[in-house]
Symmetry: C2
Subunit: 335 residues, 2 copies
DNA sequence: TTGTATGCGTTATCAG
DNA sequence: CTGATAACGCATACAA
């Protein structure tokens, strides 16, 4: 292993018999360099295996051509099978690909991880930061924004209102879902709510509450955290407390899936005895038994829009502070 | 939004009435600074909201305190439910957490993505590079190694043998699995092999071939790519070509799961008519119908060991060129 | 214990 | 079209 001293611009310049400035021009594709010189430089670059030092470059350009996508979650949840994070990642990756920028994924599940992400992003290691899903009132997005670092969140940030975000129309989707249940003759509609430290959890519950209340129906709530396990527990609680329920709206498809199975175990037929509606429209929603009626949110599009907003911001263009994407009720067999 | 000019060491120094060098010492936790001065500096740092510029720092220290984990796959596959990548990510995250280094995840699914990763890593944006799963003979690990950048691969790299790696004992695991089938009286043992451009696919097939051949048994192979869909197709082909098979070893649990369902659909009972063994021991393996007998590989441990090796390498310590972790046959009901 | 001076590898500004 | 030369923001050997 030749721990060869890494060649610098200087070395290339000497080899090619030109100045550093000229080498820099060629490397950066400037068109104002004479053809023979350009060739000589390219040859020298190849012979020496020269690769620009990004730290030096970004020190002067003030850019890094990379963008961070921060996921304030432990790896387990990020890579669970609800495919929400992966969808956002895919959307961001596609959009950054087009802009020829590097996507840097960072997990901030632990306290230390969160701090490390803060150091990394405030240290200008990236041109902008995307936040994938925030818990509670995380101060980091606001802090970065105040430092002048472009930030876009997925989901309205709970703490600092001044951070631009991309979200979906939770309330509209839930309202349509509950209305659909009511139209189908359901009158005892329960909900399995999501975590109340996340905007998605909060708004979907609010949407449910508004819909049942305005229809003069009772409000039956059990809380989960979007996962299957929590869905099972919540569904059991609901069945115990309200054995006569005839419909349930779950704030995530994973919890809806759990509800489906729990209801069957309890001897209830879906949708005959109990109708079930989920939220997300993940891939498996079409393959559950029975196939799940659910509120679709355009997950990948969230990633794309966030990224586009961020790139605009980084380019100094003004952007709208909030983008809200539509949701859609997908009718299948469970309701 | 105050696009405040970002404060530098210089600014902090002036504010605190000391030299840049002293501020630098305080910021980096040097103990040789008088208490009152240290306090003054800290105050100035807080008042100005100073954050060190990482590019400038790494330009002089030659370190970035971050490590890249490259996944040469599209996002879809990385985040599929086999949980192999997530396991490696978790292992690496845990180990880097302990070392207080930042984990930088990079997807290199497309051609352009691959190039971008190359620029990023060769540009010394990270102190070392972990490769999660290589297809074919990717030249990048070798190239980075020759540039003096620490690299560790998961799985023996197919191209350049000089790159250190961490792998599991594929052959040993498969041999035990097949032997278990033979001990159970099976004589017509087929395999659903993995992709032959990946070391895992190659070695698991080789292990199967060696085991059946040395037992004087026929060698029946159908190829998949580790996914469920490919497993269904492969199992169907095997059933069509060798309707009398009495066992199948699948090179991944996902494919084994598919085999289970396909066999049942075809009217075969597992394990009565056909025994099935998988490879991986993913979480769902315990919940399939029937629960899956499989070869466990310590996925998370792979991530941890890779990372430890990389950190040693980056610290200039010598490391063994190959680490091979043991596999274990987990007996459940499918075989 | 603190300050001074220097260099890390680029890009950008200006002359020529 | 090309070449000096000055930043960029920080860490550190050396001097005081």
């Amino acid at each position: 292993m030749t721990t060869a001293q890494r060649p610098t611009l200087e070395a290339v310049a000497r080899r090619a018999g030109v100045s550093r400035a000229t080498v820099s021009r060629v490397v950066n594709g400037s068109t104002t360099v004479a053809e023979p010189i350009r060739e000589a430089v390219h040859r020298a670059v190849a012979e020496l295996g020269y690769v620009p030092n990004l730290a030096a470059r970004s020190l002067v350009t003030q850019r890094t051509d990379s963008v961070a996508l921060v996921m304030p979650e432990a790896a387990t949840r990020v890579f669970s099978d609800d495919q929400v994070f992966p969808g956002i990642i895919r959307g961001a990756a596609l959009e950054l690909e087009a802009a020829d920028k590097q996507l840097v994924l960072m997990l901030a599940g632990s306290r230390a991880g969160h701090e490390r992400v803060e150091r990394y992003t405030t240290g200008r290691h990236v041109d902008g930061v995307l936040f994938a899903s925030l818990h509670g009132a995380d101060p980091l997005p606001g802090r970065l924004t105040r430092l002048g670092i472009p930030v876009v969140c997925s989901g309205r940030p709970l703490g600092d209102a001044s951070v631009p975000y991309v979200d979906v129309d939770h309330v509209g989707g839930v309202t349509r879902a509950v209305q659909h249940l009511i139209d189908g003759g359901r009158r005892r509609i329960a909900t399995i709510a999501g975590p109340q430290d996340m905007v998605g959890g909060i708004e979907r519950l609010a949407g449910y509450q508004a819909a049942v209340t305005s229809a003069g129906l009772p409000e039956w709530v059990a809380y989960g955290d979007f996962t299957r396990e929590s869905g099972v527990a919540a569904m059991r609680r609901l069945l115990a407390e309200h054995p006569d329920l005839d419909a349930v709206f779950a704030a995530s498809d994973l919890m809806a899936h759990a509800a489906l199975r729990t209801l069957r175990t309890a001897g209830r037929r879906v949708p005959d005895d109990v109708a079930v509606v989920g939220f997300d429209d993940i891939e498996t929603a079409a393959y559950t038994e029975p196939p799940l009626t659910t509120v679709r949110q355009p997950i990948q599009e969230i990633g794309r829009r966030m990224t586009r907003q961020l790139l605009r911001l980084a380019a100094g263009e003004p952007i709208e502070p909030a983008v809200v994407l539509p949701t859609e009720l997908i009718l299948r067999d469970s309701a």
